[in-house]
């Protein structure tokens, strides 16, 4: 029973971390219909910048704010410089460019910071809480992760559903040409989508770094799981992304806890396939198949 509780809590925490990055992927997919393979590497880079700021003596929260701002600019820059020129070409080209960016950023971080892993400070204590007389695998930092990701999700939802900015962003994503004809400055909104995704990714980096070995590659695997989660969730829905991510987190955790840690990625794969076979457009998609 204790094992089950701990494994479940571990799965939820991991899932929340995947969710933060999955939200970033969803933001970009909604804006530009592009799968950004460099999302994890961008988050890695900003987390290293945060690491430098912390080393220079900046306080944790100030460093976090600075990093989120830098990530905003980085996201915007990537869209303007690398993605914009590819508009209207083969849909695989942006995929290759983001893979290229991933490689460049990892090379750059390795050259500057070295390839070895290091520790990264958490916002709060990472030792497990005691409830009654039982110790559980859930810490103050895990609570922080949970709250931060939920706030991110609700914020994303509110932006899309309740603000005119969100309306314009959705419109730009679904139909750039019609939106432009209605006076929407689509280019800026696509840039904004990438910038906001950069922010979500950077937050994910700050949340993941203390729980894993912090190195230029520390986001690679998170990206794969976040990607799986976003696909399960339907790629366009923030709620779907979070639900998918928690599902993937739990699947990984149960498989490694009860079957064997080496099979964990298979757990993620199996739920992805089950979901996609039942709903080829993911769980929370708009069901556009009627159009065809």
């Amino acid at each position: 029973m204790g094992l089950f509780v701990n494994i479940t809590l571990d799965g939820i925490t991991n899932g929340m971390v995947f969710a933060a990055l999955a939200l970033a992927l969803v933001l970009i997919f909604r804006a530009t219909k592009i799968l950004n393979f460099a999302q994890g590497a961008m988050a890695m880079m900003t987390t290293f910048i945060g690491f430098t700021l912390l080393n220079r003596g900046l306080g944790y929260w100030w460093a976090l704010v600075a990093v989120l701002a830098i990530a905003f600019v980085l996201g915007a820059l990537v869209e303007r410089v690398l993605i914009r020129p590819l508009q209207g070409k083969s849909e695989l080209n942006p995929v290759i460019v983001t893979i290229g960016l991933l490689v460049v950023l990892e090379g750059l971080a390795g050259a500057i910071y070295g390839n070895s892993s290091r520790g990264f400070p958490p916002a709060y204590s990472q030792s497990g809480l005691t409830i009654g007389h039982t110790k559980i695998a859930f810490s103050h930092f895990d609570i922080f992760i949970l709250v931060a990701v939920l706030v991110l999700m609700v914020g994303t939802l509110a932006l899309f559903r309740a603000t005119t900015l969100g309306l314009r962003m959705r419109a730009s994503a679904f139909s750039g040409e019609i939106s432009r004809l209605l006076g929407v400055r689509v280019g800026r909104l696509l840039t904004l989508g990438w910038a906001l995704a950069g922010v979500a990714g950077a937050l994910a980096g700050f949340l993941v770094a203390p729980t894993s070995s912090f190195s230029p590659y520390f986001m690679d695997l998170i990206l794969v799981y976040a990607f799986t989660a976003a696909v399960i969730g339907g790629l366009e829905s923030p709620v779907g992304a979070v639900a998918g991510a928690v599902g993937v987190g739990l699947a990984l955790s149960y498989v490694s806890g009860y079957i064997g840690s080496d099979l964990a990625p298979l757990g993620g794969f199996v739920i992805l396939i089950v979901v996609l076979m039942l709903r080829p457009q993911g769980l929370f998609s708009f069901g556009r198949q009627r159009q065809v």
Partner: protein, 235 residues
């Protein structure tokens, strides 16, 4: 007042428009007619900035439009209803309308304009919060016309609004269009394959053939010229 002068557009080696010159006046509907591939859609797309022009000028109320961005032109009061009912299916009906109000109307005016549009097309009211993808062809056309009018444009560009609609619905739409144009300061350019119904509501007509203007005259004169009708308009 829209003045197009010596406008040329080409796609690679293909000349889509060659030295097109015409004018459209406020308070009137100017029909642009011609066979498939005559360059009608290209003409509208170059006015709204979607197509890069090669030479010539497009002036609206004295402002040069060539060189402006699509959204910049839209914000000059130009509403373009593209071919194939340009609604955004993933947004709700109300969101489609609201989107068109965002840059031109204040917060309070916005809500009133939306209510007025629903009053104008009561059939849309029931679908207010539904995705626009579930609308029928006629309903979609109501939505795009309503959306075009909601921003109170000074220049309305309509591309084949009757395509695929039942004759009765088309007639209703055309009548509505005339009511909203004649006697106002709005300039309307109506591109149609269905020349007969277009000419019935238009005041002027421009006939294009292979990218060149072959006729530019009053609508009733064009409608009366059976030779012209036979050659270019197919009725």
């Amino acid at each position: 007042m829209l003045e197009v002068q010596e406008l040329s557009v080409s796609y690679g080696a293909v000349h889509a428009l060659t030295a097109v010159t015409f004018a459209a006046t406020p308070g009137a509907i100017t029909a642009v007619l011609g066979a498939n591939g005559a360059g009608k859609t290209t003409l509208l797309r170059s006015i709204s900035g979607l197509v890069k022009t090669q030479s010539g000028s497009i002036r609206f109320n004295g402002q040069e439009l060539v060189g402006k961005t699509v959204e910049g032109i839209a914000r000059c009061g130009v509403a373009h209803v593209p071919e194939g009912r340009g609604i955004i299916e993933e947004l709700t009906v109300e969101e489609n309308l609201r989107l068109a109000t965002l840059w031109c109307l204040g917060r309070r005016e916005r809500e009133r304009a939306i209510e007025e549009t629903f009053a104008l097309f009561p059939r849309l009211t029931g679908f207010r919060r539904r995705h626009a993808s579930i609308l029928s062809g006629g309903e979609r056309q109501m939505l795009v016309i309503g959306r075009a009018l909601i921003s109170r444009p000074q220049l309305l560009l309509l591309d084949e609004p009757s395509l695929g609609l039942a004759p009765l619905v088309t007639a209703g739409l055309m009548a509505l269009l005339r009511d909203h144009t004649v006697g106002t300061d709005m300039t309307v350019v109506l591109v149609e394959q269905n020349a007969r119904s277009a000419l019935s509501v238009s005041q002027r007509a421009v006939v294009l053939n292979l990218g060149e203007v072959v006729v530019n005259d009053a609508a009733d004169v064009v409608a009366a010229d059976s030779n012209l009708r036979h050659h270019y308009l197919g009725f």
